[in-house]
Symmetry: C2
Subunit: 155 residues, 2 copies
DNA sequence: GGGCATTGGTTGACGTGTCAATCATCAGCG
DNA sequence: CGCTGATGATTGACACGTCAACCAATGCCC
């Protein structure tokens, strides 16, 4: 049958395009700033943020990857790179021979404590300040709705 | 002086987190779908979309990179990969010895004509359907506002 | 027309992400 | 105890993006 494709109407397309452009530009800028300010990638930041919010700055590998919602292989590569740079270490897990703990080093703490305030500042400057509190709220609600919707969708 | 950092308040942070999570999940799913459905990356899609919207499916290299707002080195690598897979070709530019035209091949047309309807379907299914027309509108306006704001900001 | 900054584009190195395969350990069950 | 399948994690190959350096034509000005 193959009906003619069901394209977005012009207003929908405009909204979608804006969103995509915005999102790309924003994320791009933020991560370039992070890199320039703190010699740290967005990925580094996310991992350190997740880890340091946990008691003792240590977490089981899989718990960490769940917390930040990554695939385990991505996390494994990332931890490898971060370990090489001294931001985290791997420790054996006493009660499960396969398992690993990931632990923030003092270096790692230093790094994120330096980066976080600058990062927030940029989020404010580029994003929060652009819109009203109400708009920010609305955006938050819309995002939550989309997220919930996706969770109900296959794939 | 170093005042204590100006963190986001809880509502702001919640909205920001939602947005980030939504955006990552959505983009992630869409590009995995694209890859699975059409053996094509999001980058391939963007480039082909830009090119095919132009008369004759051909464009000057730099015009193309401006149209999709990429850095030229990114585009150069991307074109290289796409050329290797036969989606586009490079052609010399008669009136500027340095320049290059990028041209969509028949293969390239086939590829995007197959991919586009599926892609739109997923955008609908995962995103558009999750929210009302009005919310989509609002999101578009907010995005445009953030975009405009960023354009006025350094860096 | 000879120098020289500018423009158009490529390259290489490196960090990052995905997928599929692999490996070691562990839990459950006969 | 000894399989067997599930769980926790790593690996390798490859696509992608960024940065900085580079190269080759071009335009321009003296």
């Amino acid at each position: 049958m193959n009906a003619t494709p069901h394209w977005l109407d012009p207003e929908q397309k405009a909204a979608w395009d804006s969103f995509i452009r915005m999102q790309e530009t924003l994320i791009g800028r933020l991560s370039r700033r992070l890199q320039a300010d703190s010699r740290m990638s967005a990925a580094d930041f996310v991992v350190l943020a997740g880890l340091t919010e946990s008691e003792g700055g240590r977490m089981r590998f899989l718990d960490l990857t769940k917390r930040v919602e990554w695939e385990k292989s991505r996390m494994s590569h990332q931890i490898g790179r971060m370990a090489k740079r001294g931001l985290v270490t791997r420790e054996e897990c006493p009660d499960d021979g396969r398992g690993a703990y990931i632990v923030v080093t003092p270096e790692g703490y230093r790094a994120i404590e330096e980066a976080a305030p600058l990062h927030v500042e940029h989020v404010r400057r580029l994003f929060v300040e652009a819109i009203t509190q109400e708009e920010l709220d609305t955006l938050g609600r819309i995002s939550a709705r989309v997220l919930a919707h996706m969770e109900r969708q296959p794939d």
